[in-house]
Structures are given as structure tokens and as C-alpha cells.
């Protein structure tokens, strides 16, 4: 028991590594905000484009969504960070991570938004087109507000997973919370900072988990 407190919940070590941890937390927060925003925006655009059903665009969008969803997020990140520079395209760490995770998130979000758009009754879109709204106006004012409400539960759980996956940015040495916690661990020869990193993640993720559970109860998938 003493060994556990000494090694995992050592207040003194945690205090000594506070700057590293908080610095990393800041980077992680920035990354999370960007990838959730870009991912959802990107996913929404793809979903709306796919719904428009253009003959040449659609297969491309489907291929994008399917291929990206078949590749692990870390593999995508490594392709962008380690392979792309050979073509002369080089991103700094932070933007490589943002790009990889937004691309990955976008593919998942696009599927979610698409299922929401499809769930809105076709008659409504037809009705609003026939009263003179353009395709985009129909989307903006009629379909999307309803679709968004329908997909709120999967949207939340997908966001949870995307945020969890953001920790892989540490693998390309982005000084995010996990990377700096590992650094603090080697400096203090004590793994408490790693536990600290996990708890900082909990601050963001535990409320999200509660939200997901709440949605699952309110809109049971198995009903």
C-alpha cells in the first residue's frame, strides 16, 4: 500500500512536475478543440456533399470515408508526419497531429451526420424545395437542425473517442500531456506524473462519459 502511494499518488512529485503537466495539458486542450471543430466541420461538409449525390464526387467521398476509417489514427499520423515530407510537404508536429486527427474525425463524423440527414423525412426536404428554398437553404434551415438533434448521442460518443485518441500525438513527440508526463516521470524517477496525466484527462472525459451514458438511457439504441 505504501509503495502504491509513494509511486502513484506522490503529492510532492506531482507538485514538482506541475509546470510540465500543465504545459502539456494546454497543448492537449488546444489540439482537442481544433480537431473536434475541424473534424465536425469537415464531416458535416462531406455528409451534405454526399447527400447531394453527385455522380463523380460520391464515389470519392465514400472511398475517403471508408479508407480513413480502416486505417488506425496513429498510422495516418505517421504517414503524414514521417512519409509525406519525402514529397516535400512537411508539417510541424502540432499541425500534422491536427491534420491527421481532423481527417480521421471527419470520416467518422461524416457517417454520423449522413445517417442523421437520412433519418429526416424526405417529404420535408421536398416540401421546402417546392416552396422555393435552394438545396443549401433546405439543408441549413430544415434538414440539419433536425438531423443534428437525432445524431446527438453518437456525436457525443464519437467525440469522446476522438479526444481519447488525441493522446497518440505524443508518439510524434508533440509535447502534449502524455509526452510531458513521461518526461516528468524520467526526471523524478517516479510514475506519479503519468497518473496525474490520466487524472487531467478525466477532467475532460468523465463528464463526457456521463453525457454518453445519459444519452444511451434516454435514446436507447436497442429500443
Amino acid at each position: 500500500m505504501d509503495a502504491i502511494i509513494e509511486n502513484f499518488f506522490n503529492i510532492e512529485v506531482l507538485f514538482r512536475s506541475r509546470y510540465l503537466l500543465l504545459n502539456g495539458f494546454e497543448t492537449t486542450l488546444k489540439l482537442i478543440v481544433l480537431i473536434v471543430l475541424f473534424g465536425q466541420g469537415f464531416g458535416l461538409i462531406i455528409a451534405v456533399l454526399r447527400h447531394a449525390n453527385r455522380p463523380f464526387l460520391n464515389p470519392l467521398l465514400i472511398a475517403y470515408a471508408d479508407i480513413v476509417r480502416s486505417i488506425p489514427i496513429l498510422v495516418l499520423l505517421m504517414l503524414i508526419y514521417y512519409a509525406l515530407p519525402f514529397t516535400g510537404i512537411k508539417f510541424p508536429r502540432f499541425w500534422a497531429a491536427t491534420l491527421a486527427m481532423s481527417l480521421n474525425g471527419g470520416a467518422y463524423y461524416s457517417e454520423i451526420f449522413r445517417s442523421g440527414i437520412e433519418a429526416v423525412d424526405k417529404g420535408q426536404a421536398e416540401a421546402s424545395r417546392s416552396v422555393g428554398l435552394s438545396y443549401l437553404q433546405t439543408m441549413r434551415y430544415v434538414v440539419l437542425p433536425q438531423a443534428f438533434r437525432i445524431v446527438l448521442p453518437p456525436l457525443t460518443s464519437n467525440t469522446l473517442e476522438l479526444i481519447k485518441a488525441s493522446a497518440v500525438a505524443s508518439v510524434v513527440a508533440l509535447p502534449d500531456i502524455l509526452k510531458l508526463a513521461r518526461q516528468a516521470q524520467s526526471l523524478t524517477l517516479n510514475p506519479t506524473p503519468l497518473v496525474g496525466a490520466l487524472f487531467l484527462y478525466f477532467i475532460i472525459l468523465l463528464p463526457l462519459v456521463q453525457l454518453v451514458t445519459y444519452f444511451e438511457k434516454r435514446f436507447p439504441q436497442h429500443a
Binding site: 509503495a3 509511486n7 502513484f8 471508408d66 479508407i67 476509417r69 480502416s70 486505417i71 488506425p72 489514427i73 496513429l74 498510422v75 495516418l76 505517421m78 504517414l79 514521417y82 512519409a83 519525402f86 514529397t87 516535400g88 454520423i112 445517417s115 442523421g116 433519418a119 437525432i150 445524431v151 453518437p154 469522446l160 473517442e161 479526444i163 481519447k164 485518441a165 488525441s166 493522446a167 497518440v168 505524443s170 508518439v171 502524455l178 513521461r182 516521470q185 517516479n190 510514475p191 503519468l194 497518473v195 496525466a197 490520466l198 484527462y201 478525466f202 472525459l205 468523465l206 463526457l208 462519459v209 456521463q210 454518453v212 451514458t213 444511451e216 436507447p220 439504441q221 436497442h222 429500443a223
Partner: protein, 229 residues
């Protein structure tokens, strides 16, 4: 960059042939870990779900609270942080696991948390009257679960569970960060060895071949069950 450059750096066939055996050995590790976490995570999750849905006298509430804490905390833990904790922190209290087992332990725990949630939703979705009917016919609680509720609950859980398991199998690539010799790790080593990123592209192609059928399958299952997600 010209076409030859793209061929030379990303789709270099001689390099692909040269590193293929080592990538295959990595793929085998990825598959072994996936099967292990399924073999541990599913039964554990099902067990927790069944325990949580029976109300044992006196100790039922605290046990349920414990299970809920286990599930919520694990669902809120990023896989890579968890694997790092198991692999880098546990040795400090004398628990030294190999990279393989560190990965299996942390991912099984996560999968069991997801499975618990999914199975419990399935168990709850089976009509109450069925449980009552089974009990009034003289089946015990466990018999009711075993022969009436769980078979239906499992069928209801298939789409969501497939989804989760595929996501988890993909996430195993993160364990390459603790040097698990999986497909991604082997590709990275090969890339360093030949000074050419072709092995990474090759690994991505192998991942697509491996997971694309599951991505389509999940879509199909979701549609068949008439659900949005």
C-alpha cells in the same frame, strides 16, 4: 515531385517484397492481441453486466457502484495513457509485464468496460415479462439469464459490439509506442532500415485490407438492425 518519385518513395515494389515477411510477423502480433482482448474482454464484460443486473441483497448496491466506477473510469481513459501506465508505472510496484501482456491487459480492461455497457443495454432491452415468465416457471435467476435473457441480449449487442471491437483492434497500433512488435512497429523499423517510407504505406494498405470488410460489415449490421448509428 514526379511520378517516379511517388513510386520510389511510397510504392517501391522491391522494398515492399523485402520487408513483407517482417510486416507479416507484425500483423500476426496484431491479430494475436486482438483475439486475446476479445477472449478476455467479452466474457468479463458479460459477467459484469449480469452481476450488475441482478440485485443481490445488501451488497448489491456497493458492487454496482464499483462496477459503474470501473466502467466509467476505463471509458474515460485514453488507450495510450493506460498502456503507458501499465507498462511504465506498474514495474515500480513490482509488476513487470511484457509489452504483449501490458497491451492485452489494458485493452482487455477497456473492451470489457465497453462490453459491459453494451451487454447491459441488451439485457435491459429484453422484455421484463420474459424474465418474469421464466422465473415463474421455476427457473433460477442464473438459468433465466443463461437460457432466456443473455442469448437475446447478445444478438441485440452484435452491431455495437462489432463496432467497438474493430475500433479497439485498430487502436492496438498505439501499443507500438511501448515497442509492441505489431504491424505498425515493424513498419516503422523497416522504414528506418531502408530509409524509405514505403513500408509505412504498405502497412496502411494491409490495415485497409484487414479492416475494410469490418467497416462495411458494421454499416450493413447497423442498417439491418434499423438504427442510425
Amino acid at each position: 515531385m514526379d511520378l517516379f518519385g511517388i513510386y520510389f518513395y511510397f510504392f517501391n515494389v522491391p522494398i515492399m517484397l523485402k520487408v513483407f515477411p517482417s510486416l507479416l510477423s507484425g500483423l500476426w502480433v496484431t491479430i494475436k492481441v486482438s483475439l486475446s482482448i476479445i477472449a478476455i474482454g467479452f466474457p468479463l464484460g458479460l459477467m459484469l453486466a449480469v452481476i450488475r443486473s441482478m440485485s443481490i441483497k445488501y451488497i448489491g448496491k456497493p458492487i454496482n457502484l464499483l462496477i459503474r466506477a470501473y466502467v466509467d473510469l476505463l471509458r474515460a481513459s485514453p488507450y495510450l495513457v493506460l498502456v503507458s501506465l501499465v507498462y511504465f508505472a506498474l514495474p515500480f510496484i513490482g509488476i513487470q509485464l511484457s509489452t504483449f501482456w501490458a497491451t492485452v491487459v489494458s485493452f482487455s480492461a477497456c473492451l470489457s468496460a465497453f462490453a459491459e455497457e453494451i451487454f447491459r443495454a441488451g439485457i435491459e432491452a429484453v422484455g421484463r415479462d420474459q424474465k418474469e415468465a421464466a422465473r415463474s416457471l421455476g427457473l433460477s435467476f442464473l438459468q433465466t439469464m443463461r437460457y432466456v435473457v443473455v442469448p437475446q441480449a447478445i444478438r441485440l449487442s452484435v452491431p455495437t459490439l462489432t463496432n467497438r471491437t474493430v475500433a479497439m483492434a485498430k487502436a492496438i497500433s498505439m501499443a507500438s509506442a511501448i515497442a509492441l512488435p505489431d504491424l505498425l512497429k515493424q513498419a516503422r523499423s523497416a522504414q528506418a532500415l531502408v530509409a524509405n517510407p514505403t513500408p509505412l504505406v504498405q502497412a496502411a494498405i494491409i490495415y485497409v485490407i484487414l479492416f475494410y470488410p469490418f467497416v462495411r460489415l458494421t454499416l450493413h449490421l447497423e442498417k439491418k438492425m434499423g438504427k442510425g448509428f
